[in-house]
């Protein structure tokens, strides 16, 4: 009987741990399947080597920017749309301005839709998850360079890269 109790109690403890193990599991799972539309982090430019460029295939990339209401910044893409060929390197820019009279630090999160498209969205330079400090009324241009993987499935012809800036609570 003690064995039964021991085993079941152990199982309960393991399941408690499992709840926490779900976090890295989920993140890994998302990276593999694009479940939550987060692109994998920054990648090196040598991804270009593995690309096979099909000049006839053009897809549309939209850029979108949100500012959390607690952050008094202006933040927008400098261009709304871009026609790109998968497998080639492109660059776009986002504009941010601190509208307030004091220095503020913000941090951006990003998300790609459709979600599965995030698997093919490779950024070689971006401002995701790095802290940005802007002085009062300071303006800044933030570049993003990216490659859409040429393995992008045929059913996707339009995707959106979206950034949201949050105030970094100290």
């Amino acid at each position: 009987m003690n064995k039964t109790v021991l085993k079941t109690a152990l199982a309960a403890v393991l399941m408690f741990g499992f709840a926490f193990a779900l976090i890295p599991l989920y993140n890994t799972f998302c990276e593999i399947t694009g479940l939550n539309g987060k692109t994998s982090g920054q990648v090196a430019e040598d991804i270009l080597i593995t690309q096979t460029v099909d000049e006839n295939r053009v897809i549309t990339i939209q850029f979108d920017a949100s500012v959390n209401s607690k952050l008094n910044w202006e933040f927008r893409p400098t261009e709304f749309e871009m026609q790109v060929i998968p497998g080639k390197l492109y660059k776009t820019e986002f504009y941010a301005k601190n509208l307030s009279n004091s220095e503020i630090t913000g941090r951006a999160t990003y998300s790609v839709t459709p979600r599965v498209a995030s698997l093919y969205f490779n950024k070689t330079e971006c401002f995701c998850f790095t802290e940005q400090t802007l002085k009062a009324h300071e303006e800044v241009i933030m570049p993003v360079t990216f490659i859409i993987d040429s393995k992008l499935t045929e059913d996707i012809n339009l995707m959106t890269l979206s950034y949201t800036f949050y105030k970094l609570e100290s």
């Binding site: 079941t8 309960a12 709840a19 779900l22 399947t33 599965v116």
Partner: protein, 539 residues
């Protein structure tokens, strides 16, 4: 009539501990603890029901008449938490305590002292949870699903709610360990697994579910706690977390949780229906397999609660297919119950009436469940009153009906008194009609576009909400009547003495001990006879 099992124990009637504290506070007797659980569950049922009455009162008419929107959200949240964790689950643990040892010929639960702890944690946990009503900012108001980031706006009540959930989680896990240890080790020598009553089987499976998922829930709310107080970012998008992750973890717990609430009820009705059909349960073995299959499936369908969060196509497809599969084992169960009645010699005492109502109403709840398994259609149903109607059909006319039916079925054995059949039938018809007035119109409300969890609604929804509220008040009142019936039965008012067998068609060990059941039944290693059992199937 065989009293062999207890012949040597008849004097045990007099061995109950004397004094209130010794008898109840320090009890290790499975029957006393079972009674405590049932009384606690009934108290919580009334508390949770009272909250529901205020909800229905506010929704009686369009416009806000009685409560502020924020308090309304507290009501819906607390109603759910209290009904799920305070009423339904403890009631089933009460049944498990009372009946499992008797049904398998064991003298008590395997771990009597732990049994006492698992119960006495509960009143403290719920006092803590209920105390949030009196705090600044009130009780949790983000729904029982506790979705972040909303739940993190709740203020200090979060800490209390989380600790209450931890405590009742520990209680549930201890209870589950106890049930498993009892069933696996304490069965009478010739009580094979496939001779166990179905109630014991379903509880064994439920106990494994509890051990698997209650800790996951505890983990999830712990992460909420650290997000709120210690600056972690598990679910905070600004910090790199993902609020949807909580939903995945929650429903990984939450879906098995709904089967935790329904499997024991399947067990209870699988005892009742054969008794009053005077015919063995149809497909005993397939019932066991179906229960196990439902339990297994419950782990792989969770995200059907989240079709609208925007999963990739493949995920939606998988969860849709997997969810549709659940209807197979559930259907098998319903078909088996009907086949048990088929060509029986039925009588319709109160427990059987509840069972029949259960089969019909639970199946209706199952149908709406199948409808919402279809992911593209769930884009419409999700978070509307159609969902509210669905889960009340399965949880009230499933779980709560099972608890009420179980009380009518076994209370003669517990108290030695027959309840009043006349009052029991009044209670049944009153409840069976009012529950449909209460929940059936909610299907229409949901389809017509009324979202759930709103304190006020557009005037086009007025008529059905009024009906629903009237049904709600009637159903609430019927349960007060139920308490009166139970008290009268315990006190022996207007009742007759129950025989040992109680029901003509009853089979199973509990019917071969005296009524009321003596304080101690069975001795270690005491063999039971196959003739006393309902199922001796070995095929």
């Amino acid at each position: 009539m065989s009293h062999a099992a207890v012949a040597t124990h008849d004097h045990d009637h007099d061995h109950k501990p004397k004094g209130f504290v010794k008898r109840w506070l320090m009890t290790t007797n499975h029957k006393d603890i079972g009674t405590l659980y049932l009384i606690f569950a009934l108290t919580m049922f009334i508390f949770g029901g009272a909250l529901a009455m205020i909800i229905r009162l506010e929704l009686f008419q369009p416009g806000l008449q009685f409560v502020q929107p924020d308090f309304f959200n507290q009501l819906t949240t607390m109603h759910a938490l209290i009904m799920v964790f305070g009423a339904v689950m403890p009631a089933f643990v009460g049944f498990a305590n009372w009946m499992i040892p008797i049904m398998i010929g064991a003298p008590d639960m395997a771990l009597p002292r732990m049994n006492n702890w698992s119960f006495w944690i509960l009143p403290f946990a719920f006092t803590m949870l209920a105390s949030t009503f009196f705090m600044d900012g009130g009780a949790p108001a983000a729904g029982w699903t506790l979705y972040p980031p909303l739940v993190l706006q709740g203020g200090q009540n979060l800490a209390y709610a989380v600790f209450a959930i931890h405590m009742l989680g520990i209680s549930s896990i201890m209870g589950a360990i106890n049930v498993i240890a009892t069933i696996m080790n304490m069965r009478a020598p010739n009580m094979g697994y496939l001779k166990m009553p179905l109630f014991v089987w379903t509880w064994l499976i439920t106990a494994f579910l509890l051990i698997a998922v209650m800790p996951v829930f505890a983990g999830a709310v712990t992460m909420l706690l650290t997000d709120h107080y210690f600056g972690t970012s598990f679910f905070n998008a600004a910090g790199g977390g993902d609020p949807v992750l909580f939903q995945h973890i929650f429903w990984f717990f939450g879906h098995p949780e709904v089967y935790i609430m329904i499997l024991p009820s399947f067990g209870i009705f699988s005892e009742i229906i054969p008794t009053f059909a005077r015919k063995p349960l149809f497909g005993y073995v397939s019932m066991v397999y179906a229960s196990a299959a439902i339990a297994f499936l419950s782990f792989i369908v969770w995200a059907h609660h989240m079709f609208s969060v925007g999963m990739p196509f493949g995920g939606e497809l998988y969860f849709m297919y997997a969810t549709m599969l659940i209807s197979i084992p559930t259907g098998v169960k319903v078909f088996n119950w009907v086949s048990t009645m088929w060509k029986g010699a039925m009588t319709f005492e109160t427990p059987m009436l509840w069972a029949i109502a259960f089969v019909i109403l639970f199946t209706i709840g199952g149908f709406s469940g199948l409808m919402m398994a279809i992911a593209p259609v769930d884009f419409q149903y999700h978070d509307t009153y159609f969902i509210v109607a669905h889960f009340h059909y399965v949880l009230v006319s499933g779980s709560v009906f099972a608890i009420i039916a179980g009380v009518y079925y076994w209370i003669p054995k517990w108290t030695g008194n027959m309840y009043s059949e006349r009052l029991g039938k009044i209670h049944f018809w009153w409840s069976a009609i009012s529950i449909n007035v209460l929940f059936f119109p909610q299907h229409f409300l949901g389809l017509a576009g009324m979202p759930r969890r709103i304190p006020d609604y557009s005037t086009q929804f007025a008529e059905f909400n009024m009906w629903s509220s009237i049904g709600g008040f009637a159903f609430g009142l019927a349960q007060i009547f139920f308490i009166i019936i139970v008290i009268r039965t315990i006190k022996g008012k207007g009742t007759t003495k129950a025989t040992d067998r109680v029901w003509e068609g009853a089979k199973g060990l509990e019917w071969f001990i005296p009524s009321p059941a003596p304080h101690h039944t069975f001795q270690d290693g005491e063999a039971v006879k196959d003739e006393q059992l309902a199922h001796v199937s070995t095929h």
